[in-house]
Structure formats: C-alpha cells, structure tokens
Symmetry: C2
Subunit: 437 residues, 2 copies
Amino acid sequence: MDASTLIRKKRDGHPLTRQEICDFVSNYTCGEIPDYQASALLMAIFFRGLDLEETANLTEAIMNSGRVLDLSGLSGSKVDKHSTGGVGDKTSLIVAPAAAAGGLVVPMVSGRGLGHTGGTLDKLDSIPGFNTRLALADFRRVLGACGMGLIGQTDDLAPADRKLYALRDVTATVESLGLICSSILGKKLAEGIDALVLDVKTGSGAFMKKMEDSRALARRLVDIATACGKRALALITDMNQPLGRAAGNALEVIECLEALKGRGPADLMEVSRQLTAHMFVLGGLEATLAGGRERFNTVVSKGKALEKFAQCIAEQGGDPRIAEEYSRFQAAQHAESVVAPRDGCVARLEAEGLGRAAVTLGAGRERLDSMIDPAVGLTLEKKVGDRVEAGERICVVHYNNPARLPRALALIRSAISITNEPVDLPPLVRETITSEA
Amino acid sequence: MDASTLIRKKRDGHPLTRQEICDFVSNYTCGEIPDYQASALLMAIFFRGLDLEETANLTEAIMNSGRVLDLSGLSGSKVDKHSTGGVGDKTSLIVAPAAAAGGLVVPMVSGRGLGHTGGTLDKLDSIPGFNTRLALADFRRVLGACGMGLIGQTDDLAPADRKLYALRDVTATVESLGLICSSILGKKLAEGIDALVLDVKTGSGAFMKKMEDSRALARRLVDIATACGKRALALITDMNQPLGRAAGNALEVIECLEALKGRGPADLMEVSRQLTAHMFVLGGLEATLAGGRERFNTVVSKGKALEKFAQCIAEQGGDPRIAEEYSRFQAAQHAESVVAPRDGCVARLEAEGLGRAAVTLGAGRERLDSMIDPAVGLTLEKKVGDRVEAGERICVVHYNNPARLPRALALIRSAISITNEPVDLPPLVRETITSEA
C-alpha cells in the first residue's frame, strides 16, 4: 500500500493493520516515506485517534525500528520505571539503585529536561565524570556488573521515535494520546525489559494537569504495555508542588544521596518506596506490596542502595566519592532567600511556576541550545501544609547569574500562597492503575 | 506567527486571519515553510474546513503568489469560462471564439486531461503547430490581436497552486471544498478577468457525481469569486453521458469546428450557447440572457466565431487551414463499430466508462508520463434517448494500437444500456447558481 492510500485510510476513520503500521514506520525511518507524508498521517491520527491495537502495533514498530536490547544473558528480572515528568521529580536516582540492590536488573534509558520539568540525564551530568552516552555494548557490561545502568537514548534505540517526535514537535501533532503512548513505550520496550512501573504525574507541574487526562494516559500506557506482552502498572502521583525539597540538578542528586541514606524528605521517600515496591512485585521478587516496601526499606537502611548507586557511578566513569563528599559537586556562588510575607499555613507551592523559576536560573533549557548550569536551583524549606511565621524562610534560591535572579524571584513569589486555614494535603499516590488483562 | 502555531490554530478549529493565510502561502511558495508543515496544515484544513472568508483569502493569496495579468490596456470586458471537467467536454473551443467574436476578451488558461476526463490543452495539441506554451507577454499580444488566447499554466501564474496541488495529491488532502475552490479560482483570477462563468459538471463522468456535491461546489465557487470582487455565475450541467458525440482530441476539435459552423450536436450547442450567453451578460454586453443567446447565434451563423478561432490558431502558430480541411488533422488508422445488441432505446452511455475507454486507446494519460495519441477516440452515433435496432451502430472506435482495442471495447460495451421503455432525458442545464451578494 502506498503512503497516500494509508493516509487516506486513516483520514477516513478506518483502523490501520499491523502490517500497514510496520511498513509505515520502517519506510519512514529509512527515509523512503518523506516527512510531508508522515506529517499528514500524524495529523490524520490527531483527528481520528488510534485504538488500543493500533497503538500497541505502533509501539512495537517503534521498538523494532532499531536494536532491542537482549538482556537474556543476565540473571534476574529486568524491570524499569518511567515517569511522565515533573518538578523535583528525581525518583529515578533512588528507585534504580534500590531496585538493583534488591535483586532486579534496571536498564534505565532516560531523557533530558523538557519545558519546566527536569530530566534524569541533566541531573546525572552534574556528577563529575559520569558518562550517560554509553554504546549499547558498554551499557550491557555495566548492567552485568552492577544490575543497573543510566544512559540516554542512543542512535540505534528506537530511531523511529526520535524522527517522529522531532516531526510532531513542529507540526502541532504532539498532543495525541496514541502517539504519546507509543513514543514513551516504544523506547522503553527497546530496553529489553520484562516489566515496567509507570509514574504518571498529575497537577500543575505535570504535562497532564487534570486527573481525568492523567488517568486516561495511565490506563492506555498500562493496556499497551500489557498488549505488548509486558507486566505493567501505573501510579498516578501528585505534581501540584515539587516532589522533595530540591529543584536543580546537583541539588537534586544530593537530595537523592540523602534519600538513599534514609534521610530524604517524606514525600520523596514515600513515592520512591511505592514505585520500587511495585517493581519488586512485578519482577517476581515479592508477592505483596507490603513485602516490596519492606525490601526497599531494608536495602536503604543497610546502605545497599547507596552502595549500588556509587558502584554504578564508578562503572560509568563518574567520581563515586560524591556519595559522601557533596563539596565535589559544583555549587552556586550566591543564595537568596524567599520568606513568608505573613503568618499562616503554606497553601500552594505551584510546581510549574517553581519549575520555570529553576529553568530561568539555568537549571533547564529555555531554548534547545541553552547551556545547563548544574549548580543552580531552588531548595524549599517549607512544603504545602507547613506553618510559617512572617519573615520565615520558605525557599532558598541558588544562583550564579544575578541578571536572572529578579525574574526567578517573581516566578517563585507568585507560585507561593499563604492561608489562614489549615491545609488538607492531597494523597501523594492518587490512584494505582493495574492491568485488566 | 510561526508555522507550527498556525497549524495548531487551525487544528483546534480557529479561523485563520487574512495575514496568516498570506504569510503561509508566500512563505511556502518561496520554500521558507517546508512541505511537512504545509501538509500537516492541509490535513488540519481537511478536518476543520475553511470558511468563506478564509477561502477567499486563500484564493487571493494563491493568485498573488505569482504574476497577475494586467489586461487594463485592452478594451472590452475580460470574461472567462471554467469547467470542472468531463468526457467530451469541449465547450471551451466554442465558447471562447464565440465570446471573443461577440466583443469580450477571453484570456483562457487551461489544463490537461486528468483521470478519465479530457483537457483543453491536449485537444489544442492536435492542431498542427498550435503553441499553448506562450510567455505572458506573447499571450497578451495574442489577446490584443484577436480578443482570445488559449494557453497552459505558466511558471509565473499562481505558482503556489502548482506547489500546493502536487503536495495535496500525495498526502490525501485533495478532497476539501475550500482547497478545491481556492485552487480553481486562484489560477483563474490571476488571468486578470472581470467576470467568470463556471460550468460545474454533475453525474457519472464528473468529479462530483452527486447533485448535492456539485451544488455545494458551485455555490462556494460563486461566493468566493464574488468575495474576491469578480462577477460570477455557475451552471450545473449534466455529465452522465458525454457532451456531444466525440471523445478524443482531434475528433473533438473537429466537432467544435462543426459547432462553430452551426452544425454541432444539439446538447453541445445548447451548453455552449448558455455558457456564452451568461458571459455576455456578466461582461455587460447584453442585459438579458435571451439577448446573450441571440448574440451567440448571430456570431455563429455569420461565421464570426469560426473566423475568430482561425485567427487565434494563426496567432498562436497553428495552421488555420484546419478550420476547413479536416484531413490536416491526424486520423486513426483503424475503426471498429460497437452495435446495439437488440432493439430498444438507449438508456445509458455512462460517461466515466466511455472516458476510460478513450484513455485506454491513448486519448488521455494512464500514467503521468503517458504519451497522448491525438487521433484516437470515440464517436457516438446514438445518444441517450435515441431509438436503435439490433445491429445498428452506436459508437465508432478510432484506434491505432490493436492491442488496446479489446479493453476499450469491453469498457464501452459495459457503459451502454438498451431498454424497452422510452427514456426521459435529464435537463442539460440542471441549475443556475448566481451570486447572492
């Protein structure tokens, strides 16, 4: 079937077959189908949608557009976690070491920050020497050595996704549930995993701000992963305020190291514990969630998770001494406090605004070619629900470029609300979406 | 506004402004907006449509993408006719000379055959020496000399349309009313005309087979042309059987010459007369349609229309002796008859099937690069409603390549039905659509 007939079929509301989707993805990836036909198909998909079967087929076609890691030579279940992204969302650097320390193999391929959210690769770049650009053969060696590895997408992993995503970005075809799901899962499934735990964020700092949208995304992701033969589960977690206290790359890695020592903020510890516990259950190491939570607590309290992270850092060329010597991280030259304007209770620490403040300081990218400053960011000394007195510090701004400070301060101040009433916190884990299959 | 924001705006159902449409067309024509963004916008337009104002703005942007003929130096109203295309649809070669002989200036830019339909340029190519590839300066000279000219689209007339049409053709975005109308009218308005009569075909041999679709197209074309400041009117005419008796290039030109001598088939004479009469009225030469019809009859009966055509042929490098000496046209080597299988009344001469038979013989293009044979085609000795006896000839097939005959005969035979009942003919001119402004 030629490409224009395929476009017409989807345009007129008919589902595409597995073969048609495979042919499209492979012919587009190799350049036989030009961008202008692919973008017309993407827009037709935007309007007509993809059903579950089409989305699963597209996911597998994307996965198969490049190499799929074969980790069958490694003992242990291969389980990964994926988050849809948020502010202060640093659980990967806690979950991966804890899961690996508990007996799983975690082949984690991560991305960079996007918009107001941070990215795991940018955080890892703040660790002196850490190399996230491993070839797949080296990645497999690291996985064999320590049961975990943290890299960025390589040229040979799901190349169709990279090409399709770049096209969607400039043709207003990003916001399509089927395309979003197949993009996320096509990459993840190329990691050669057996199971996947998804952390779908909801709230002001998430891409899906409404609970119903987050629920639809979580349901679809779990159903597709299941249709592709993987065990999968999604947590819908709160992203109205930043997770933990730090937003900014080195600051977040230090917070993760503290968490791996059992001293992390309560919300960050809880989300990380719940995600890891589900990974243990999906990976067959525990029969119950309670058992999974207990295993997380054990590997943290015995220092095994921290040890695993230090080992991974060393295997990937980084300086493992940072696990204890935080002064080895780059630190910002200046700090400025944002204080409570009056007595009361913190009602709001609006995550998107705080994320934008961190990006303004240089913790993320305002343009594709922006340089990231690993040292800058925010630390929150109060969280939503905490009582404050007038003049008491709520947030510390770590910055290097004074010209960027005023805009960041304005964003932070308008992200904070103080109220007289006591504040009810929404639950951290809003819903758990399991496979219906 | 950048292109992806423009795509998003249309995608989400918001109308585009005049400025946005102008910017898109000019930036796309010069290559600043790539094909892949244009095709995504075209697909969004397919789903969301274009309102009348957007379509008029797109029409003007296409018109202004190249040169617009300035015919203000020529005296007389500039009026053209455009047909949406059919089988045996040869009125241009009657209407243009008759209108010019009657006092109008007719700057007719035509196209080639498409699918099962013929094209004016292909018909003109059967006239020895006739040059349809005039530069605009030469075209203007011909118009000044004889009040009519017949050329193909040049590189500098509405280049946006050529580029957009080629893209629509391979991205399943042809079938959009707004895009169809702006493509037709953007080219026509670049001719520098004051008024336009549209012949929208309906029936089996037309692109719009259903009356309601033809009516919607006619209404939209008239409204847009009016919105662009032109006087306009559309006739919806029957295309269930071929118009006239001949289908095939030289055969049709000869039939036109006969018509210009007052001896054409009744249906062809009537449609040509009605179209030309409306041109005279829109051009201000006649106050009433009856007056317009009378003026057509006069220029034909006095030989003025034929004289005008011969003059135009000479001005454009052709051999004007063909007007009297039909042996100067290429003739097919072979002829085969298709006869009535039984006594009865001709109920059906299905135009699309007969058009495909003519294309099979070489009168049109089966592929973009097919060579046209000017000599081949069909002549119908009976039309729908005529009585026939078993064995009486209905159609003569003029062919050169015997290998193509069987398929053509099969197509012709299955296009013909004979019935016992008397046959009611649908009116030739089904509706007249006038401006509501």
